[in-house]
């Protein structure tokens, strides 16, 4: 049987080069030249080398309604607000909703109004002053260097778009934080299964993160196993585990950090986990993979009606 051998030879590197690179990285971090992008959640920063790092893949998974999109949406703008000294841009593949709706959520978050209030879909309509506040906030938001792609594409199209974006004159050489909401909405090649597409996507992201200072933050779904009766009634089985993530193998391999956002109240759980943790209005972030540290759990306060989640502080909720 004839074998199709590729002629492509992968590049070889002597260990000296990566050694020099890591020494430079350590020196740069020491001197404050290389800094992570701070988020507004101190406990998250503590666990993740100070925040969001370049050349890193972050995966945020969760069931529907767990706050994944709010988490990413909040990050998109918070990173700019909290790190004015660092130059970077955001490229956001938003396959789930229109980018205008995404901006609507940002306004909701900034003005602490629900999107229903903003869009006047409930009984309340915005008054004149509130409408002006919306306009003012919109003018601020439009100045963020954020670029959206809200037309779903396949893995090759995403890759080509990223490479094209990197070459734009106003972007070239800058740190790019790439968001993808969410992985399962990536179109498959003809004949590819959902899992194959997911696997291809992960390989592509692993390649992309190595270019320049690219960071990838991808959102993904859990499978339905965490919703089974047995998992719900047995507190020992409440916490999400690796295999709860859809296409867990490839995602787990590719991710440097893997978080699962979980709102046990969505599953009718009254007390969470073996120690019976509180549930109402709380979101638990399970860090299932932490390449530079230990897995742990962070508690957040659910403020999803205003499209934000806040770190939970036992003494003083922030």
């Amino acid at each position: 049987m004839a074998m199709n051998l590729s002629n492509k030879i992968l590049p070889l590197r002597n260990i000296k080069d990566p050694t020099n690179e890591i020494v430079k990285y350590i020196a740069d971090r020491r001197a404050g030249i290389v800094r992570s992008l701070k988020t507004r959640w101190p406990k998250f920063n503590e666990q993740c080398m100070g925040g969001i790092e370049p050349n890193t893949i972050y995966t945020v998974a969760g069931i529907s309604g767990s706050g994944k999109s709010a988490f990413a949406n909040s990050l998109e703008t918070d990173l700019f607000d909290l790190n004015p000294e660092t130059e970077f841009v955001v490229l956001s593949f938003n396959f789930e909703m229109l980018s205008s709706r995404q901006v609507g959520r940002k306004i909701s978050y900034k003005l602490a109004k629900t999107t229903q209030q903003l869009y006047g879909s409930g009984k309340e309509k915005l008054n004149e002053a509130e409408y002006h506040a919306v306009l003012e906030e919109a003018r601020k938001i439009e100045r963020y260097p954020i670029y959206y792609v809200d037309v779903p594409g396949n893995v090759d199209e995403i890759k080509t778009t990223i490479l094209h974006f990197m070459e734009l004159p106003e972007i070239k050489g800058k740190w790019i934080v790439i968001f993808l909401d969410h992985t399962l909405l990536t179109k498959g090649r003809l004949g590819n299964s959902e899992r194959e597409t997911l696997s291809d996507l992960q390989h592509m992201f692993m390649e992309i993160k190595k270019y320049g200072s690219n960071t990838v933050i991808q959102l993904s779904q859990l499978n339905r196993e965490i919703e089974t009766t047995e998992r719900i009634v047995k507190p020992n089985l409440h916490f999400p585990i690796r295999r709860d993530i859809f296409g867990s193998e490839s995602i787990f391999q590719a991710s440097d950090y893997l978080f699962v956002l979980h709102r046990p109240e969505l599953l009718g759980i009254k007390e969470y986990g073996p120690s019976g943790w509180d549930v109402p209005n709380l979101i638990y972030m399970h860090i299932l993979k932490n390449r530079e540290g230990k897995p742990a759990i962070i508690k957040f306060k659910n403020n999803l009606k205003h499209n934000r989640i806040d770190q939970h502080d036992e003494n003083n909720s922030t």
Binding site: P235, A296, I298
Partner: protein, 195 residues
Amino acid sequence: MIIEIDTQVLANEKLTPTQFFILRLLIEENYIILKEWYESIDNLNIGQELRQLIELEFLASLNEGETIDFSKFVVLTKGYKLLGMDRDWFQELIDIYPVKVIRSDGVKDYLRTDLERCRKIYKRLTGGNISKHERIMNALRFETEARKRDGSMAYMKRLPKWLASEEWRVFHERMLDEQSHGETEEDMGYGNELI
């Protein structure tokens, strides 16, 4: 007659085991055993032991002179408190016993049934021994926590059966075992620390 003594209580109250024993028998009005016991022991100065109990305000005496009539000693509140006799132990048990559970077939079942019979069983079970009562209470607390953790609340017995089968003994053993292995409620396993 078997009596358990909490040595920590003795140390706190500065009592000797002999004084504790005398007090216990007086509370139970077990005068015959008390008399037989002290007469069988040489060199026991019962008068001195009783005087000390009076000085420590566990007892009052209605006896005249040096005569000792055990029925004329009155146990004071402090004495009842020492032995936990001022509390309703059964009510304490009821207060922490789960009211209801959902059985595995989805049916709601109420557990605190036949309370009068249970009260009698519990009195017999504890035998006036506060240490035993405390042990049962701890085992019950542990059992409910463990069952919540394991998702086995559906298998919690109704109170009459729980008492009759001495279910608490199983969980008392398990509690001691887990404590000896350093397992605690807070031990959540690798990666499950809440920060």
